[in-house]
């Protein structure tokens, strides 16, 4: 049985609730970046707007924004992006009174995550689902956006893992900050992260210069692209993205050293560049960064509308060794289509790499075959794919 994305059941527009609803009211923006009072506040739950006898579901939604009527369409905007004359939807109710209906019932239970999932929990199901999802996205032209903190590139195997995933079609965009890209490039330039050899962790002589030396040399080159083209970078995730023409957005913060030339000093512009990527996203994977993950969780639409009109969730996986971080991301996602994993992101990447890039035939499972098969039959929950893997030796 092939993997399928969860279905979204559109509302019955002939039901009483929809039939009796009013049309939206709007008011015009009188000052750039300021909404009229009484605006409607957006959320990640699919929301329908009633206008000119039609029910409009915006192409993308975001949390903590306002809804703007543009011709016959509804666009979701940050306060900061409002411009004079924008027609902002009004009203706090979401039951149709103001022409707005929040529709929670479209996604089934399985899409709504279990909030507050603690570290002492089984993650096998979450991993298996992710593997299925990633294979599905790869085969169906999906757009997987990775949001990465700096610690993912401190590890030797993780840097290889990320590159392999990119080379095999599992990475379509990267969102990160200055530190992540800097450390990865330092690894490719001088084999170190903050002066320590990236495999042995032995500090190199004068290695504390490596971080700033790298930043200065990329700044001298004028761009990461030029720096790589000049042959300075032996390996790493950024080099792989560069080679494969996969876009990355580096948003700035006041903690940045350097920074790299590509880093957005202006955070509002950075946010817009991020949005350009998240608007294409079919799956978002956030590793080891609270700042970028929560920002993306608020911004990225929780669903997308396929070409055939079908509505599907945009899943977000959030992975961090600190429970509090993944819970914050889940909250910013309003628990829709979000899965949380509390672990070291190095293990996460290596796990994903091995699962997606190792041929099924090569798994060695003789010793426990009966045990596992029995178990799978009983629980009756493992996917066909998984069972195939586990039964493979038996069949031989």
């Amino acid at each position: 049985m092939a993997f399928e994305l969860p279905k979204f059941t559109p509302p019955d527009f002939t039901s009483e609730k929809f039939l009796s609803a009013n049309e939206i009211r709007v008011a015009e923006v009188k000052k750039d970046g300021v909404s009229p009072k009484g605006f409607y506040l957006t959320s990640h739950i699919p929301t329908y707007y009633h206008y000119n006898n039609r029910w409009i579901l915006p192409k993308h939604n975001s949390q903590n924004c306002v809804a703007v009527l543009q011709k016959e369409d509804i666009i979701i905007k940050e306060l900061n992006d409002l411009v004079l004359g924008d027609k902002v939807v009004l009203g706090k109710e979401s039951d149709g009174t103001n022409g707005v209906i929040v529709y929670r019932e479209g996604f089934d239970e399985a899409v709504i995550s279990h909030a507050g999932k603690s570290v002492e929990t089984s993650f096998t199901n979450d991993y298996d689902y992710l593997f299925d999802l990633m294979r599905y996205e790869k085969e169906n032209g999906g757009y997987i956006v990775w949001v990465l903190g700096p610690s993912v590139v401190f590890d030797f195997d993780t840097r290889i893992g990320l590159s392999q995933l990119a080379e095999n079609g599992y990475v379509q965009a990267l969102l990160a900050g200055n530190a992540m890209a800097t450390h990865d490039l330092e690894g490719g330039y001088l084999d170190t992260a903050l002066g320590q050899n990236i495999y042995t962790q032995v500090s190199q002589p004068m290695g504390h210069y490596n971080h700033l030396d790298l930043l200065n040399e990329v700044r001298r080159a004028g761009s990461i692209d030029k720096f790589i083209a000049d042959g300075n970078v032996k390996n790493g995730f950024i080099k792989t993205l560069n080679k494969l023409d996969i876009p990355f957005v580096l948003a700035g913060s006041i903690r940045d050293d350097g920074p790299l030339p590509e880093v957005y000093h202006n955070v509002s512009k950075g946010l817009n560049a991020v949005k350009e990527q998240t608007d294409k996203a079919t799956l978002v994977i956030c590793l080891a960064t609270m700042l970028h993950s929560v920002s993306t969780a608020e911004l990225a639409s929780s669903y997308r509308i396929k070409e055939d009109g079908a509505i599907v969730p945009v899943f977000m996986y959030t992975v961090d060794v600190t429970e509090n971080v993944v819970n914050k991301v889940a909250a910013a996602r309003e628990n829709i289509a979000v899965r949380t994993l509390v672990t070291n992101v190095q293990d996460f990447v290596v796990n994903v790499q091995k699962a997606l890039l190792t041929p099924v035939e090569d798994l060695q499972v003789e010793s426990v075959e009966v045990n596992v098969n029995e178990y799978c039959e009983r629980t009756n929950v493992k996917k066909d794919e998984k069972e195939k893997e586990l039964k493979i030796k038996e069949e031989k």
Copy 2:
């Protein structure tokens, strides 16, 4: 015995090391924001530069920067702030070979913190020292800079505590982000933080609008100052700062909702505004924000030169409920004059408030007086001030 700041012993410039040192070499910046190769990388340890037969200690230092010769002085600059023609000090050695001598011996042991201090540790001494330090700074025209994360203003007592500390002269500047100021203003505007009553924590009807409503209304007013002047804010830390004309700098991030009009969208400009405050700092207190704390720890000078020429440390207290955060800050400070406390910042603020604002006479200690006095005598370590407090009833 009055409290005194730790002494710094200047080097013996007639010693062999200094006498035999070369003079600094410099090279000119050929492109804005890019250093010549082979630059000298700055650190928080007091560093002397040999030029024209003089040994120059820069007025401020920072970590991960370069040293620029300006006339007869040395200025520490971020890569990003370098401009065409800047004369950058060269050489990696710090033993005089290049005219640069890093001088670790100036501060005594007690100023170098115990790195890796875990949560299961006695903090009494750190608290007592802070109380002495804050009283000293207040009496001697010090400039105490607070760096605050949003969680400090979620608590009823903490908001009062911070305001009282400001009103009593213990706050000279605030460094924070959009969220901290927004939550504090929401509390003063609508008695809530993210829609929950700030004391009872009961969610208010439609309270999830409060956060964006506040942001929108301040944006409409055009500034926090105007918003407060219009009578919208009943209380809170930002209102107190506004009333007392205490400066605050709000640096932006991609996670910001709104943001408030005063928030720096451009992080480089934000950093410069931060630097303006840290250059005046005599004490820095960082609470519950990794981003702003680590940034400030790198940036703020670890010492200052008093008008009489004496060199004294600029202490940094870093407080967070997560051990990893305070360890990162201590590392960014190179363990110089930094003290770490692992606790909830609410308790920290209330502790400081009670210690500094409760008159000594009012402490009630009868029941254990003998016990404690004995102890103090034996350990012989508590400061006179503290002993006075504890002996007070006995003397009556």
Copy 3:
């Protein structure tokens, strides 16, 4: 208005649910420590048992136990404590079908805690409520049981704080392990904790011997009581308890050095000694120990029946710097009458000490009086007591 404990509304035994309920069925224990199959599993929610036309609410309840009919009463027992012939209540349903009715409606909402309360939350209300509760218990012959981990006695001020609270009537029993008592006694014997001076944290020469030396000498004395009587202990919480004849139970674990003579090597016997204390408890305060806190949370009754027949909750406060620990305790309490605080327990103890032992008249609040008074009026939630404190200067 005086502080009152939350009321419990007994069920309406004339309602249909109770009238139509069956009587309990029981089966006899055939082997010590083993229940008949089909036993009823107990929880912390008040539960009524129907027997001989009466509805019995057991004097104490516990989680994960079985209910045993003894004459006309119901006793809650661990599996391990069952003996041949015990009559165990049967049936899994709790709706009356088996004569058992779980009655959730007795306590009002405020008694059911907000589960999953994160560190970034206001704790003022929880503190204020605790202060009221502790004063109430002290004045009304309550029995406050403290459950302490070792880190509370590493801190100079905390040891004093705990002793003062005991001397002022706020401690009726201590539950702990070998490490907590050992470290406290080491402090009183040699001024150190694990060899470091308890105030300065400076390691003492050969200080690593202190821990085992203390253990060995107490073992030589034969008991903590004898060791103290011999004049070896200058101060500390254990000494204070000893002086005041306040009981303490030290339950053993495989991690124990020594251990002290009073430590229960047999954990089942330790548990019974703990139960003797928790059966008297009117309030339980758990600090910085997952093992003992979760154990006590399961064991200690969530309510007690006063002499006048009124049923009141037994509150549990659980305090730890790790969010996960307090959440586990809340879960073991089934969120009934439990309040969680995520902070360093040193600050918690000092906060409680200052709040309960500082006379109200001595609080210094001039500077923000208007501010705060206004705020209290508006929010209208602070207790009379608190308002009195804050208005005191105004009235003068």
Copy 4:
């Protein structure tokens, strides 16, 4: 090049320090469980005792114990295990003055771990070393002791992973508590952990009974062995150990429900049963339990003496998602031959399983072969074994 254990260089007994050393002094135990005053306190660093002109290295060492002379040998004992007449070594110095010499120089640098290694660190090298070590131990008759907390058996894949590792010769003993065994058996008995399906995590109807039902039924059977023999357990780690006759020790705590019949109620007896296993250990792996890990870290010898007289380290890997836990274990090991990993133990187990049980030929590495080979050549640090794996396709 085959993997080799780090060498230990025995001291030069003809050096001045040894030649001039005194012989040990001893005093007799006058009371069971109490040492004479002035005892020598043991540590994990290899320690030589001078007696009858010989230098004795005890067969095993432990931390926080005393050394007892038995005939011509030195035995390390807990205070609690001392019996009347035992001859305890005296003296605090360890430089030979008292006939005791602590010899730090035997192990080379690489065996002394980097203390305070944070979560943001490369773990690839630690993993690779573990894989080599485990293969070596398997091939050379090693004895790998696993110390497990309950969370390892909450996960579907982890339970399979542990069983496979045992079936393939990588597990020789298990040390754990009641909870770990109970949850694993609940999984094998009813497919749940605390009532939730172990794969889907969906709560089962009346699933909260499963935990106590399992405990009660094993108690009825009288032993885990009998319970399994009766066909009640479909799978799981305990069942695998039972089938393979691999010993496990379950040490009790006051938090135990039930407990299982095999659980030691008496912690001192439990500790002795643990010691029986750790005395055979050639490698110890501690996952997700602070209590048992720290206890084992103190107890288990840090070295062993092979039959040929060679001395080799007994490595300990400690893995936990909380940094503080692994740091505590490293401290209890005095940083000798200990490696810390901060991650979710589920990922750890799955990583180890895949690394050790997947044939080298099956790794798929084409896409990045050049990349990786180049990298390995440059860094020149990866083991031959690893390079072989990565080059394998190239050679074809």
